[in-house]
Symmetry: C2
Subunit: 339 residues, 2 copies
């Protein structure tokens, strides 16, 4: 069996996550049992939700255990198989974790899924046609439910989720306004993703300025808000929402590293009769087929051009993950584990 | 025509509302035109929403104009009529405002509604079988939608809305936990309204203490929260909510008088996948018949015993209203305008 490199969670962050919280470990892959498959990971997915699981506090998922492989989505190829439905060379996605190889009990429902790379590059199954894409779809379609002509705002607009929200909202005839950190990200959102406008929160770096910029970019107010960030930007967007606006709370990455960030004026929920709903895509598996069909179609027709930031080699994963939390990535952040 | 006393809004509050913001004015009622009705008000409704309308800021309703009669619900009797559907002596409810008499264009849809006092005292049409009762019904039934066995928490539990929430939730087989300010209010909620438990936030006067008390009173967690108060109590209850909990935001009276009260930890919306929705009952007129039927039935069968605090005479209205904002009332606050 091949030797394996893994990254373990070595300690829980005190405040900001650090490279020192992770540890690179060498191991051997065990021999396969009947029904098992050995997968060589080509790509590892890095996602903001992982930061929450590094803590020990109350959250929707059990914390990531200490001294164990960091959990996470992976895309790769079957290297050995003792399962009749998987053959060596099959391209597959699963939850293999931060390591080069994983042994998967392929009889377990949902543990391993074969995917075709005929139309879509393998890594996109971790992004636009994977968990982030379906996350965008669920929050936008099932919670925000925008009507044609309505205005949709999304934060982290150039990220894996935000870019898909934009594409899905444009497909529904909405005005789409992104918020992102940096002129380059905003240019990408407008020029390549087709957003109607994008606000750089580093340029409009305090609430009044961002609110004024949002008023100009969304002259009819905001009907739907897809929230990935939290903090003061949430306050600004809520203040510009129309009556009966809908807010899908997908992430609050701004507060993941430290003390909770307050919401300054929750009475706006009443004043504007808003509906605010938090969700986790893994609890809505029933929408995956419909969502992936639409997302694949948008990519196939060239209406949605997802971008990736690729780190090279497993050892680069911690640094790339910390960069993701700071918004250094551009589109979906993956780690490439093959040359 | 009879002479009329009115209370006008004389100035907008700077921070806390004061008696000096109101002014008692003497006037004459004008002669009736065809289609008009002169109503003598027996009861004037005092409601927390009126505080918001005293401000000039953005809200769901246009601000109460300065130098005009304070707007508000009234119950009374037809004193003169030039409308074929209303006869002298009919008992009616409408939005007559803070005055002894009002002239109503009875052809205007919804302006005046005849009610029967055979089963229900007239003043209850301003409370349990009026706007506050329907408010409770809409938030509980349409937003919280509790299932039998679930736990419902309501703040301002002994108030006009809160007491109705409790009765409606008990009728649905829920565990009902109230939060109110004072041992007497809590005793009323448990002993007369049939709440399973009631927490006095003056006894448990800081977040950790109230959270511990709530944990004991709601050992299976909180599924539904009917919010009338806002502020730190909102944070405490959100922290005890079960996954997929529902929050109906009806009022945030704690912040009406001053600066907005923040929500300390909005990330709980994501962590617990909560749905939070603000609403205003007047935008949901379609539910009134169903709601009033159920509320009337609960009162008729003795399952819901609404209580009132009655101030005497129009001049007492400002003081009674300020007391309502401070929670000095017990059940529905009305002003009686006849001897």
């Amino acid at each position: 069996m091949p030797s394996n490199q893994q990254i373990h969670l070595d300690s829980r962050p005190q405040g900001e996550a650090q490279v020192g919280n992770f540890k690179l470990v060498h191991s051997e892959t065990p021999a396969l049992q009947d029904g098992q498959v050995l997968v060589q990971h080509h790509y590892l997915s890095l996602d903001p939700y992982m930061r929450g699981r590094m803590n020990d506090g109350k959250s929707y998922a059990a914390p990531q255990p200490l001294g164990a492989v960091m959990q996470g989505g992976t895309a790769g190829q079957v290297a050995q198989s003792r399962h009749p439905k998987f053959a060596v060379g099959d391209t597959v996605v699963g939850m293999g974790g931060w390591q080069e190889y994983s042994v998967v009990d392929a009889n377990q429902a949902g543990a391993l899924r074969k995917v075709s790379t005929a139309q879509v590059p393998l890594s996109h199954y971790l992004g636009a046609v994977g968990m982030p894409g379906v996350t965008a779809w669920y929050g936008l379609v099932k919670i925000c439910a925008p009507k044609p002509g309505e205005t949709v705002v999304v934060t982290a607009a150039s990220g894996a989720v935000g870019s898909a929200v934009g594409a899905l909202a444009k497909a529904r005839g909405c005005r789409v306004v992104g918020i992102a950190g940096g002129a380059d990200k905003c240019a990408y959102a407008v020029n390549e993703l087709g957003f109607d406008a994008c606000l750089d929160y580093k340029e409009h770096s305090e609430p009044k300025a961002l609110s004024a910029a949002l008023k100009a970019a969304a002259p009819n107010g905001v009907d739907c808000y897809f929230e990935n960030v939290g903090g003061w930007i949430l306050d600004v967007v809520l203040g510009r929402m129309n009556p009966f606006g809908r807010v899908a709370v997908c992430g609050m990455i701004a507060g993941y590293d430290g003390a909770p960030l307050p919401l300054a004026n929750p009475s706006i929920i009443l004043i504007s009769r808003l509906k605010i709903e938090g969700f986790i895509v893994s609890e809505h598996m029933e929408v995956w087929p419909e969502a992936l069909t639409e997302l694949g179609g948008l990519i196939g027709s060239g209406k949605f051009k997802p971008r990736e930031t690729v780190a090279q080699g497993l050892a680069a994963a911690p640094e790339a993950f910390l960069g993701l939390l700071k918004g250094k990535n551009f589109g979906k952040q993956v780690v490439k584990l093959i040359p």
